[in-house]
Structure formats: structure tokens, C-alpha cells
């Protein structure tokens, strides 16, 4: 069959097919490693056993409870980060003097591993759920602040001048120009923030006394040596992170339709 006879769908099908090659090869190697016992079966269950374990946990609802708890904490932390991060970022970005005076603090805490601050947040908020949310929210907040401020500072000066020459007040320039100018970078920040919030929440669920959540589930399965369940939970957690990323990229494309054009 010559290329000319392909339907218009063919290039799309080809692209999807090509993007599946990597995962299929990885699962193949996984299966081979398990089947030929390159890696001890005690450490690596087979892919099909793992996927069926994943399916069973989803259907039985036991994983959904943990998944729900993790999603709730992650989105709670992310929501706080976005609500408090965007206005602070815009304020910092539009005032050079304020930005310079806190630049070091932002950079310092951004470079501090969130996990190092667990004990501090436990002291402040107790060992309840909110300590986890607060530490994840704090890390995510810094990412949002930094990116929004950066977006505002690097906005095109011409557009601000254009608004000013038309007689726009400072507030109108802020609302009609600066906000939109910073949106592409804001979305970069939000995407990074949700990933970071998920990472911190998972680690917090593992180590700071949680009764549920995917982090708790993974470490629990490891403790009782239920490796199928451990791998299944890791896969699900990866799926959540990937899902967030895809969702935010789609949202970004829709909202910031002018980016790069």
C-alpha cells in the first residue's frame, strides 16, 4: 500500500502507535526480567500480576480510598499555594524594590528540601492532616510566587507603554495587562507547584504518621512485603502525577491561547 492511500487519520494513528513503543518495550523487559529470573521474583513481581493487583484494588475500592485522601491533600495544598501565591507573586513582580529585598529569602527556602521542614511543621501544626498539607502548600506556594513574580517582571514593556499612552490607570494596567502578561509563566509555576505538592504529600504520608493515602499504602505494602501491591500503588501514583501534568498543559493551552504566537 502506498502512502497516498492512507486516510487523514493515519498520521495520528502512527503518532499514537509510536508513543506506545516505549511503554511496551519497558513492560517487555520487565516481563523478561521477571520470567527469566534476572531479578529475583521476591523483589520484582511480573507485570501482569502487578496490573491485575492494581485492577483488583481499584475495583474493590480499597485503593480509591487512599487515592482520594492523597488527591484531597494535594489539591488542598495546591489550592492554598495558588490562592496565596498568585497575588503575592504579582505584588513582588511589579515592585522591584520589594522583590530585591525578599529575593534571597525566596531563593533560600526554594532551595531548602521541603522534607527538612517536616519537623518544624509538625511542631507548629501538630501531627494531624494539616501539617502535611501545610508543608506541601508552603513548598508549592514558593514555586508559584517565584514564577508569577518572574512572569510579571519579564512582561513586555511595550504593552504596558501602549496601555499607558491610552491613558490607563496603574490599576487598569495591572488588571488588563500585567496579569495577562504573567499568565504563561504563572501556568508554568502552577504545573510545577502541583507536581511538588504531590511529591511532598506522598513523602509526608509515608513518614509522618498517616492512616491513609498512597504514600501510606506504598510503605505499608513494602512493610508486609506485598510487592504486587507496592508496585501497583507506585504505578497509580505515577499515573496521578502524569494526569496532573496532562491536565495542566491542556488547561494552559486553552487559557493562554496566545503563548508563543
Amino acid at each position: 500500500m502506498s502512502a497516498a492511500t492512507f486516510s487523514p487519520l493515519a498520521p495520528t494513528a502512527m503518532r499514537i502507535g509510536r508513543s506506545l513503543i516505549g511503554p511496551i518495550v519497558l513492560i517487555g523487559i520487565w516481563w523478561l526480567a521477571n520470567d527469566s529470573e534476572w531479578v529475583s521474583n521476591k523483589l520484582l513481581p511480573g507485570p501482569f500480576a502487578t496490573f491485575s493487583s492494581l485492577w483488583d484494588s481499584i475495583v474493590s475500592g480499597s485503593m480509591m480510598k487512599d487515592l482520594g485522601a492523597t488527591l484531597y491533600r494535594t489539591l488542598y495544598a495546591f489550592g492554598l499555594a495558588a490562592i496565596f501565591g498568585i497575588p503575592v507573586g504579582i505584588a513582588l513582580g511589579s515592585n522591584d524594590r520589594i522583590y530585591r529585598s525578599v529575593e534571597f529569602l525566596v531563593d533560600f527556602f526554594r532551595s531548602t528540601p521541603a522534607t527538612a521542614m517536616f519537623p518544624l511543621f509538625l511542631l507548629i501544626f501538630g501531627i494531624g492532616d494539616f501539617a502535611k498539607i501545610a508543608v506541601a502548600g508552603f513548598s508549592a506556594w514558593l514555586v508559584v510566587v517565584f514564577n508569577v513574580a518572574y512572569g510579571v517582571m519579564n512582561s513586555r514593556k511595550t504593552r504596558i507603554l501602549a496601555a499607558r499612552v491610552m491613558g490607563a490607570s496603574r490599576w487598569r494596567i495591572f488588571r488588563d495587562v500585567l496579569f495577562f502578561e504573567s499568565l504563561p509563566q504563572t501556568f508554568v509555576g502552577l504545573r510545577m507547584a502541583v507536581s511538588l505538592a504531590l511529591v511532598v504529600i506522598i513523602v509526608a504520608e509515608m513518614f509522618i504518621g498517616s492512616m491513609n493515602g498512597m504514600g501510606h499504602r506504598i510503605i505499608d505494602a513494602q512493610q508486609v512485603f506485598d510487592l504486587q501491591q507496592m508496585y501497583a500503588s507506585i504505578l497509580m501514583t505515577g499515573g496521578v502525577g502524569y494526569g496532573f501534568n496532562v491536565l495542566f498543559i491542556a488547561l494552559e493551552k486553552w487559557v493562554v491561547h496566545w503563548a508563543g504566537r
Binding site: 507603554l161 499612552v165 491610552m166 491613558g167 495587562v177 495577562f180 496566545w258
Partner: protein
């Protein structure tokens, strides 16, 4: 050709008053203007009168501050000392329009083209109905054939610059500033926008200040060519070109045009070699 632009709702004084063409009234007065960049004066005690209802093209050597001059007059760049008045009024009391060189960076890509054009009217607090009326008026007078409900990046460069010009003209400015309006356009679009500007000027008689780096273009559009010196910038000379409008390709090969251009070039070269 000049029937295309008709701003019937707004009458510009100079467009109707043809009784005293010999001594045009001064529109913009610049007195004692001083501007330093990092302590080095670019303008020092600079004086200038720009005529009302005329096209003035600003031409001069690289880095002499052509754009800086119109940006100071338009209030985009602060100056250290001096007074700039429009018919005796301050900038705040005056409606101006400004067309940037880089339309891509001057239009708001998050707004549809039509909302870009409405924006200065909204800033002025005009009602929605009046905004719509004014935009329809502009669309009719510019003979716009493309759909303005699309976003700026969906248009060609020339169309985007035309949208910028419509936005600048929407609030009936007394002065229209254009900072190298053609330099980001290809040749075909340059010719198109140049003719549009001429039509607008003939229909409205709005005072236009155009910064240009192309002498032919400057002379073609201008009533007055303002020639500037190297820094610290002074006025080298003002050359008048009074060929009848509408000007066309024939104008470019006319004796008056060639002579005026040669005279400007002569002054320019003397200033560059100095």
C-alpha cells in the same frame, strides 16, 4: 481614494479650515527640553514647534534620539527639564494616539482585535453602545474586509499594524504618533499602510508625527521633514515638501520630490560627517 475614511461624527478644525494654509498654527511646543542618559545629555535646552494638521517626519542619524523625542512628547519617556504643550494644554488634557514599531508586542494578544480597538474607548469611560458605534465607524472608514473577531496573532503583519492604527485613532486623537510604523513590515504591506496613512490624514487632518529611518518614505509622507543632528541633538533643519495630495508613484519621480530628498540627504550627510 480619500472617500474611504470619513470621520463624520468628529470634525477636525484644520481639515475644514483651509483659509490660512501659508502659516500653519503651531500644535506642539517644546521648550527647554533636557534629557540625560546616564549623565550624558541627549537633549539639552531643546526647542521645537510642530505644526498643527501637518505630517511631520522625524529623520536623523542613528542613535540621535528620534524615538526618544517623540516618546518624551507622548509621555512614554520621562524628561529631566522643560515644557511640552499641545495647543497650550498639557499631555494629560490631550488625547493622543500612538502606533508602535512592533505591532506584535503592542497589541494585546489575549483580546480579540475588535476589543483591542475598543480598549482606549473603554479607558475613557465610553458606554458600550458608543464604543460599538465608533468601532463600526472605523471599520467602515478603513474598509476592513477581514473578521475583527479573531485574535491579533491570527492576522498578517500588515493587518496587525492596521489594527494598531485603528486602535490609536479610535478616541479621535489630536495628535497621532507613529514610531517607525513600517520597519517591521514587508514591502507590500509598507506600501499598503503608507497609502492608508495618507488617506487617514487627508480625511481627518490629524497632526501626525512619524519617526522614520527611510528618507524616501519620510519625504513621501511629510509636509515637513524634521532633520536632527548627532548627540547632543539639535534641529539641523526643517525641510518643507508641499506636493499635492494624494501623492502616488508619480510623486516619487517628480522633480520636487527628487530635489527635496537630495536636500535632506545633503543636510543629513553633513551632520553625520561632522
Amino acid at each position: 481614494m480619500n472617500s474611504v475614511v470619513d470621520f463624520s461624527s468628529h470634525v477636525y478644525e484644520e481639515a475644514t479650515d483651509k483659509t490660512a494654509p501659508s502659516t500653519p498654527r503651531t500644535h506642539i511646543t517644546v521648550r527647554g527640553l533636557t534629557k540625560k542618559f546616564g549623565g550624558v545629555p541627549v537633549y539639552s535646552n531643546f526647542n521645537l514647534d510642530l505644526p498643527k494638521g501637518k505630517v511631520t517626519c522625524v529623520f536623523g542619524p542613528n542613535g540621535c534620539g528620534k524615538s526618544t523625542l517623540i516618546n518624551m512628547i507622548a509621555g512614554l519617556v520621562p524628561y529631566d527639564e522643560g515644557d511640552i504643550l499641545f495647543d497650550g494644554k498639557t499631555l494629560k488634557q490631550t488625547t493622543i494616539g500612538y502606533v508602535f514599531q512592533n505591532y506584535r508586542e503592542a497589541l494585546f494578544p489575549w483580546m480579540r482585535a475588535i476589543d483591542n480597538i475598543k480598549y482606549p474607548l473603554e479607558i475613557m469611560g465610553m458606554s458600550k453602545a458608543d464604543c460599538d458605534t465608533r468601532v463600526q465607524e472605523l471599520i467602515a472608514s478603513f474598509d476592513v474586509q477581514f473578521d475583527l473577531n479573531r485574535y491579533p496573532y491570527e492576522f498578517s503583519g500588515g493587518q496587525q499594524q492596521l489594527i494598531s492604527i485603528m486602535r490609536a485613532l479610535a478616541p479621535h486623537p489630536e495628535v497621532l504618533f507613529l514610531d517607525e510604523p513600517f520597519s517591521a513590515l514587508d514591502y507590500e504591506m509598507t506600501l499598503f499602510i503608507r497609502e492608508k496613512l495618507q488617506e487617514i490624514f487627508q480625511a481627518t487632518g490629524v497632526t501626525m508625527i512619524v519617526v522614520s529611518h527611510d528618507l524616501e518614505e519620510a519625504v513621501y509622507l511629510a509636509d515637513n521633514i524634521l532633520l536632527l543632528t548627532k548627540r547632543p541633538t539639535r534641529v539641523a533643519d526643517t525641510v518643507v515638501f508641499d506636493a499635492a495630495r494624494p501623492r502616488d508613484i508619480g510623486t516619487l519621480s517628480s522633480g520636487a520630490f527628487v530635489q527635496t530628498k537630495a536636500r535632506c540627504l545633503d543636510i543629513f550627510q553633513k551632520e553625520v560627517r561632522r
